[in-house]
Symmetry: C2
């Protein structure tokens, strides 16, 4: 079995969910393009998962627990499972990714979980020595 799975998605599509396309086991990622004035037509919360949103283009409004916040490209926000949330796109539309992962599940990351590999095959751009 290969240690990877690759797919190609349309970055202009209204919504693409990666979990099933890639057999993800620790997260779900959706890539979302809301047209100008479009909105998530409901408020929702989660049982166990935190959500991370990253706005890639456009602008809009985040509704969270009765509060409304303007959001724009470059904004990133984490929402606790209990947060009651919804989104609306502004006049430019809103391109955002949303990632779900179980709150509290990450034990370590980057330098804590990663391990350098120098004893196997290496690409030409990795300098030896």
């Amino acid at each position: 079995m290969a240690n990877y799975k690759l797919t190609h998605i349309d970055l202009q599509a209204p919504r693409t969910e990666l979990h099933d396309l890639l057999n993800l086991t620790g997260m779900e990622l959706s890539f979302n393009n809301l047209p100008a004035g479009g909105a998530v037509p409901f408020v929702h919360k989660h049982k166990e998962n935190e959500e991370l949103y990253l706005v890639l283009a456009g602008s809009g409004t985040l509704f969270i627990d009765g509060e409304k916040l303007p959001i724009k490209a470059g904004d990133a926000f984490r929402i606790d499972p209990a947060g009651c949330r919804s989104l609306q796109a502004g006049p430019e539309g809103l391109t955002q990714i949303c990632i779900q992962a179980k709150a509290g599940s990450l034990e370590s990351f980057t330098m804590g979980d990663g391990q350098l590999v120098s004893d196997g095959p290496q690409p030409e751009w990795v300098k030896k020595g």
Copy 2:
């Protein structure tokens, strides 16, 4: 305590890590811009975390377990903890996000973990009834 935390990042910066900026507990996300010909100068694997990469712009090469694959905007790939990986940008540079989460930690998602909220405050874009 608010159920959210929001930050703003520079989408043109070489690398931005969100874990500490947002107090993430289930994942880490890095936003990366590699310049033309730039590369991750090492091969690495992980102890526990799967990684999901999404290429947002440009193109390059994924090195995985001795294999080299061309990658371009719209490509998304999951890598098992054991996969030995590195990346190089092509002549246009490479913009990608990489998310780490503990492999096997996601118990449910979207309709399984999400819950509609209709009994609290609602934004004006959610229709009543």
